[in-house]
């Protein structure tokens, strides 16, 4: 389950019409949501509130260790009217699952962002500030997000922690999204890591053809091919890494069941990964993944699914979702997320069948309340 602050950030992206799906990092978002979902550990409670449309607070308390917790504050320069309370939020917005990609839309025309007053341009750039302090470890996380242009977003994340080598780390990232392609360039102070990644969508360019052509009956399956690559280089430790990936996904207009397939290659390390995910109706999705390393011959097969439970068959309202995964290396994971009255809850367990002495690795319950 997403934390409240992640949910608010997604609301900010939505309000500023930023499409996080059109990024190389989220190329395998579906497979990760179905196969790599985290299971809660221990008891954790979140109480959150967006006291004004621009300012939100969140308090978390857990029993990991003795007692730990965090205090978070968030400020958005853009009023976020699309944030819902926990009693009425759509569960799809606070959980991750099969991601149905929408048709690409062109970036906003920059002229639409201009605000003129008395012959002077008075529009600012929307920004989001976020800070979270973990206790008792006194770790501080900070985020600064700024929508510089309709095609550009600037993002700075920082962690301050006395246990880190130089007391903290800062990562700056510039993100571009032109619809047809997107790119991200980042720099991290930890090891002076530089990175670049890009995603290219084959097919229609939304900037030239803003509206998808009307579907004809004889046309083949409607889908989208995307290809991307990433490259990293640590200047200080002189280490590099790269990967490349390919994705095919069906679009909402596709007549058959939504399907997503990806193929990921890491040439330097000799590993490859193929995923296949299918959404069977509104209430279920299945995913499988096969990993193989051609250097070490290590392989892994993972299977996962999510099954939604309707509260009322007629009202199209969902009461919760059950996620399950099984993998050769990481064992079994079970997660049940749902809503009980005004509370969002998440119950899960991680089971490792290979270790007889410690069969259940983690059991947890997480509760969220927001107003």
């Amino acid at each position: 389950m997403l934390t409240y602050m992640d949910y608010v950030q997604n609301a900010f992206f939505q309000a500023t019409s930023w499409n996080p799906d059109n990024s190389y990092v989220n190329l395998t978002a579906t497979a990760r949501a179905l196969l790599d979902f985290p299971t809660p550990r221990g008891l954790k409670m979140n109480i959150s509130s967006l006291s004004t449309p621009k300012f939100g607070t969140s308090y978390a308390l857990g029993n990991l260790g003795v007692v730990d917790g965090s205090v978070s504050y968030l400020y958005s320069s853009l009023p976020l009217h699309n944030v819902r309370r926990s009693a009425e939020v759509d569960l799809h917005d606070v959980t991750t699952g099969y991601r149905q990609l929408a048709e690409l839309r062109p970036p906003d025309d920059e002229r639409f962002w201009e605000v003129w007053k008395g012959g002077l341009r008075v529009d600012g750039r929307n920004a989001l500030l976020f800070g979270r302090m973990y206790l008792p470890t006194s770790t501080l996380e900070a985020l600064y997000l700024r929508r510089v242009k309709p095609t550009t977003q600037f993002r700075i994340t920082a962690v301050s922690d006395g246990r880190l080598k130089s007391g903290g780390t800062i990562m700056a990232m510039m993100q571009h999204d032109f619809g047809k392609w997107s790119g991200e360039y980042l720099y991290s102070t930890d090891g002076a890591l530089i990175g670049a990644r890009g995603l290219y969508n084959f097919g229609r360019d939304p900037r030239k053809q803003p509206n998808p052509p009307p579907r004809t009956s004889d046309e083949k399956a409607i889908g989208r091919f995307s290809m991307g690559a990433e490259f990293y280089y640590g200047i200080l430790n002189k280490s590099a890494g790269m990967s490349t990936a390919l994705r095919y996904t069906t679009l909402p207009t596709h007549p058959n069941a939504p399907t997503t397939m990806t193929l990921t290659l890491t040439p330097l390390m000799g590993s490859m990964s193929a995923t296949y995910a299918i959404k069977a109706g509104d209430a279920a999705a299945f995913c499988s993944r096969f990993d193989f390393n051609m250097y070490s011959y290590e392989s892994d097969l993972s299977l996962g699914c999510e099954i939604w439970r309707r509260e009322d068959v007629e009202k199209e309202d969902f009461a919760g979702v059950l996620k399950a995964r099984v993998s050769q290396t990481s064992g079994i994971g079970l997660l049940w997320e749902g809503r009980l009255k005004h509370l969002l809850f998440s119950v899960g367990a991680a089971i490792d069948l290979r270790r007889k002495d410690q069969l259940v690795r983690a059991v947890g319950l997480e509760l969220q309340y927001s107003s």
Binding site: R197, S243, L268, N293, S296
Partner: protein, 545 residues
């Protein structure tokens, strides 16, 4: 002086050596996995193979600063050029980005899609061709355990071969990194480990705090040894009982050859008979005499039968730092008084073979005062009985109970010999009859006309305020053999003399080489549990004074 290691139990493929190796492997595996490993290592480290090779390290005594039943302090020179090897096996993460992500906080992680996919590679590292050369300072105290320090970086070279030998970059990195680790191991971790282990063995409180069985702190057992070279260096003999063949553990600790006994007997006789013939002990020298004056010569190469090799590099200094606080509880509290002696002691022997001295500076005369001085007789109330010949047997030469611990007075001014007054320290009732304790008093400067024995001795001027250490022999092993007891006592006296000489500013005109040989033999047999060879190597420049 060098050590003679009995390395054969490790090279032969019998059960004891295989048991030793399996034990050592398990210890090493546990030690390697105990500390937190770097993130690049993703599996436990296993010791695949361990072999100490066919040849033993060479260990050489440079200096013995303090020696008693419950403490020891010395400096050794160690060198190793053998064929020992060690093979380690583990798994490493070959993707540096994966390692990077495991150390960076997740909130600022770049969150790569797949570039951090793991690739674990089995890694096998073989360390071989060790070249070690270093100086070991070993301080043993029963209360404080063993302190072992490498004075310098002992690792000269080391060959690292691994799975990645074909990739020069990784090969160089591993070579560099492992050399660094091994240096750290020798200079930091090994001393700590030895210290802890020794505390566990001898300090009951420390062992109790660890909840361990307290090893019986038998004072003689850790320092007992035999001349067969069964031990490693002192540390190994203390800490690794596997290195000592079990069949030697209960044998008498001192074994003397007939030849040496005969030599000692001759030496003793010469003292009784005022014979001019003096036996020499080859290849032994007291460094302070030989090198105290820089290149000044000493009377050591007398008799001409010693090859006229430069003895500077072969000499050693008894350290004088940190010795002032050594505890007084010692077996040497019984002060030997001077035995009837004559010029046959020929300390230095400068007059006998002046022509052999080619490096001599201005020589000084020394007198061996064979009579007790007034100071000494005053301060030693027990020394007022006629001495008898040291031929009685003894079962123990350890400290007579109740004897007052007192340093010998250091004569400040020349004391001219008075008629010989034999001294006798009453033997303690708890020990058997050996009460013959002899004291040799060297005095300087001396008028040659006044002494019975006059020697030409060159010695360096030294500052009188300098505190000198005491060298004491631990004579813990009872023996019914007359000769053995005699030799022990004789060695004891040698140490007394050293002590006295040190008090007198290290001005020793010389000594009988054979005596020194026996002193060191004694130290080896009693104190260290190791056999000593007679080879003397070249002392390093740092030890030439």
């Amino acid at each position: 002086m060098a050590f003679n290691f009995n390395w054969t139990p490790l090279t032969t493929s019998n059960t004891s050596s295989s048991a030793f190796y399996s034990h050592a492997k398990s210890l090493l595996t546990a030690a390697l996995n105990k500390s937190q490993k770097p993130p690049i290592i993703v599996d436990d480290i296993f010791v695949e193979e361990l072999n100490l090779g066919q040849s033993a390290p060479e260990l050489e005594i440079l200096e013995i600063g303090d020696l008693a039943e419950d403490r020891f302090r010395g400096i050794f020179r160690m060198s190793y050029d053998g064929d020992a090897f060690l093979t380690l096996r583990t798994k490493v993460q070959a993707n540096p980005l994966n390692t990077y992500l495991s150390t960076t906080p997740s909130y600022t992680s770049p969150m790569p899609l797949a570039a951090s996919s793991p690739l674990t590679i089995p890694l096998q590292i073989t360390l071989s061709q060790f070249r070690l050369s270093g100086f070991i300072i070993l301080v043993f105290s029963k209360a404080k355990g063993i302190t072992l320090v490498f004075r310098n970086d002992p690792l000269e070279s080391l060959k690292v071969s691994s799975t990645f030998d074909t990739i020069p970059f990784i090969k160089d990195y591993l070579q560099k990194e492992i050399e660094r680790q091994v240096r750290g191991l020798f200079q930091e971790e090994l001393p700590v480990a030895v210290h802890r282990l020794s505390l566990r063995l001898w300090n009951p409180e420390y062992a109790a705090s660890l909840g361990l069985d307290v090893h019986d702190p038998d004072p003689s057992s850790p320092i007992d040894g035999s001349e067969d070279g069964s031990g490693d260096d002192a540390k190994a003999a203390f800490t690794n009982p596997l290195l000592s063949p079990s069949d030697n553990s209960d044998t008498p600790s001192i074994v003397f050859s007939q030849k040496n006994l005969a030599a000692l007997k001759g030496l003793s006789e010469s003292q009784k008979t005022l014979s001019m013939r003096t036996l020499d002990i080859p290849d032994a020298v007291f460094r302070a005499w030989a090198s105290g004056g820089g290149s000044s010569s000493t009377g050591w190469e007398k008799n001409g039968d010693v090859p006229s090799t430069p003895i500077g590099p072969q000499t050693y200094t008894f350290s004088d730092s940190g010795e002032a606080t050594s505890s007084a509880a010692s077996i040497s509290s019984s002060r030997p008084s001077l035995a009837p002696s004559s010029s046959s002691m020929s300390l230095g022997g400068g007059t006998s073979t002046p022509s052999t001295r080619t490096r001599g500076k201005k020589k000084k005369h020394r007198v061996v005062n064979l009579r007790p001085t007034k100071e000494s007789s005053d301060s030693d109330p027990a020394a007022n009985k006629p001495t008898s010949l040291p031929t009685q047997t003894t079962t123990s030469s350890s400290s007579p109970a109740g004897q007052k611990e007192e340093d010998l007075p250091t004569p400040r001014a020349p004391t001219f010999p008075t008629p010989p007054q034999p001294q006798l320290i009453p033997s303690t009732p708890t020990t058997s009859a050996f009460s013959q304790e002899q004291k040799i008093v060297f005095e300087s400067p001396v008028s040659p006309t006044s002494s019975i024995a006059t020697e030409n001795i060159t010695y360096p001027p030294t500052s009188p305020s300098h505190h000198r250490p005491q060298l004491r022999a631990a004579l813990a092993n009872p023996s019914g053999i007359l000769e053995q007891a005699f030799v022990k006592k004789l060695a004891h006296e040698m140490q007394k003399r050293i002590e006295e000489e040190r008090m007198k500013r290290g001005v020793m005109g010389g000594a009988n080489r054979k005596m020194w040989c026996e002193v060191e033999r004694e130290l080896a047999g009693v104190g260290l549990g190791i056999g000593m060879g007679m080879g003397m190597g070249m002392a390093p420049p740092a030890y030439r004074q």
